[in-house]
Symmetry: C2
Amino acid sequence: MSNLYKEAGVDIDAGQRTVNLMKEAVRSTFTPAVLADVGSFGGLYALEGLPERPVLVASMDGVGTKVKLAAQLGRWEGIGADIVNHCVNDILVQGARPLFFLDYIASSRLVPEQVAAVVTSMAEACRAVGCALLGGETAEMPGVYTEGAFDVAGTVVGLVARAEILPRQAEMVAGDVLVGLPSSGPHTNGYSLIRRLIEGRDLEASFDETGRTLGEALLEPHRCYLAEVERLRAAAVPLKGLAHLTGGGFTDNIPRILPPHLVPEINEGSWEVPTLFQQLVAWGNIAPAEARRVFNMGIGMVLVLAEEEIEQALSLLPGAVRIGRLAERGE
Amino acid sequence: MSNLYKEAGVDIDAGQRTVNLMKEAVRSTFTPAVLADVGSFGGLYALEGLPERPVLVASMDGVGTKVKLAAQLGRWEGIGADIVNHCVNDILVQGARPLFFLDYIASSRLVPEQVAAVVTSMAEACRAVGCALLGGETAEMPGVYTEGAFDVAGTVVGLVARAEILPRQAEMVAGDVLVGLPSSGPHTNGYSLIRRLIEGRDLEASFDETGRTLGEALLEPHRCYLAEVERLRAAAVPLKGLAHLTGGGFTDNIPRILPPHLVPEINEGSWEVPTLFQQLVAWGNIAPAEARRVFNMGIGMVLVLAEEEIEQALSLLPGAVRIGRLAERGE
C-alpha cells in the first residue's frame, strides 16, 4: 500500500502527522458551541442565544499569490492570520461577528511542519476574535501545484441580526464622513504585481523606518478590524457602512457599499501613504490612479459615519483618519 | 494598468467575464433565505423556521487530483457536482441538511468558460438538494498552479436539530445491519493512484458494459445520498448512523462512526464490485485489503440500521445492499 502510494507520489503518513501537529492549536479555538472534535466528517456548532431574525453571513476567500512569496521566503506563520482576518473583515462589513472558520490547504507535497505553522497562525487569529476553527482539509496534489508551492483558502461563517445588517444605504447622505483605518501592508492584494516589482531586489535587507526587511514588510499579516468595530458598537456610535479594501484596492471597494446616488470624495493628501506603497509605486512607475486600484495604499477599512459622530469615533479609534466624504453623484 | 497586470501574468478582465458567465447559474440556486446578490462581500442567509436547539454542521473539502484528470480530458462539467455532493454527504452523516455552499476555484490562468462550466455544475448539484450557492472565490495564481491545472474546493453549511445528530452511537448494538448504497465510481478518492494506474491506457476507448469510455467512467460525478436519507426519514425509518466512504476507502470510514466496543463485520461477496474497480485492482495488482483502503469498491455510503428496519429500508432504497453487520469487538 504505502509503496503504491509512494510510486504515485503521495505520502499517506503526512496527513496523519499534520493532524497530530495541529490538533492542539485547533482545539484551543473551540468555544462551548463546538460539539464535535477534530476529525469528524463535519464540524458541529450549536446556535445559542440567537438574536431576533438571525442571518448567517458567509465568505470564502484565498490568500492569493502572497502564498508564493511566503513559500519563497520559507515563512508560513503569517499566512494563516492573513486568510482568517481577510475573511472576518469580509463579513464584518455586513455587520456580522464570526462564529466559525474552515480552512483548505493544498500543496504538491505536504510538509507537516509547514501546514502546522499555517494552521497555528489561523488558530491564533481565530482565538483573537472568538471564532472556532471548526474544520478543514489539507490536500496533497502532486502535478496540480508547482514544486514547493501551496495554496491556502478559507471560509468564515458569522451571524448578524437582520436589523443590524450593514451597509445602511438608506441612511447614507451627502456629507457623511469617510474614516480610514490603517492597513498593516498590502494585506492579501496585489501580490502577483508585487512579485514582479520586487524581482531581483534584496528581500532580506532592512527596508523601512521600523527596521523590517522588505520580505517582512510584504508578509505582514492582513489586519483584522473586528476590535475597532466592536469598540464603536460598545460606545453606541452608529456605523452606516464599512468597506473592506481588498481586490480592486482603494478605488473600487468604497462604491460597492454606497447607494447609486452617492459617490466617495477622497481627500488624497489626508493620510500618509506608507513607505512600502511609495516604494512599490516608484519601482513600477505606477500612475497614482492605477496604484489606488491595485493597492489599499495604507487604508485597510473605510467607515461611513455621520458628521456628528466623527469626534467620538476618532477618539475611540487610534490611527483612524478622516479621508473624505460622500457627495451626490454629479454634484 | 492592464499592461502592468499582463506583465505580471494576470488577466484582470477574466474575473469579470467569469462572473458574468456564471451569474445566472448561481442565482438559480437562490432560495428566499438568500438576502444578498452575487458580488457582495459576504453571502447573507436568513435562518428561519429553526428547529429546537439548532446546530450548524459545516465541512470543507476539495476534489483532490480528480481535477487533474478532468483537466487532462478537458471535461470540467462533472467537477462541480463532485465537490458539492462530496460536501453534502459529509454533513449528511451527521444528520444535517445543506443550507448553503461556497466554492473556491483556482488556477494558474482562469479560463472563464471552464470556470463557468464548473460553477454551472455546482449550481445544478446545489439546486438538486435545495442548497444555495451563496458565494465563492475564483483565483488566478500564476506560478502556484502548474500550467493548465486547477483546483476546486468547497464549503457546505447545513443544519440539524441537536436531538437528530448522527451517529447515534448509544443506540448501536451488535447485530445491527450495515446497508451499502452504490457509488457512481471512485467518487473523489484514490485519483493520485488511479492516474498512475491508467498511464498509457486509452481513456477514449469504450470501456465497460454501459459503453462509457474509461475517461467517462473515471469522471462520473460523486453521487449524493441526501434523497435516499430523506426517503427513510419520510417513512420514519430510524437511522442509527451513516458513513461516507471517502479518503480511507471502504475500510477506514465505517469504524469512524461506531462506538469503541463495536466493529463492522463485512460480508465481502455481498455486492458486485463494479468493473472499473476490478480493472483498477488488476492493473495495479493491488491486494484486496489494500484496494478497500483506497477505493470505495462500489459502495459510497453505509447505513447502520436495526435488523427490524431492514426490510422496509431496502424496499425504499433501490440498489441498496445488505453488506454486513456490527459485532462486539473481539467477539
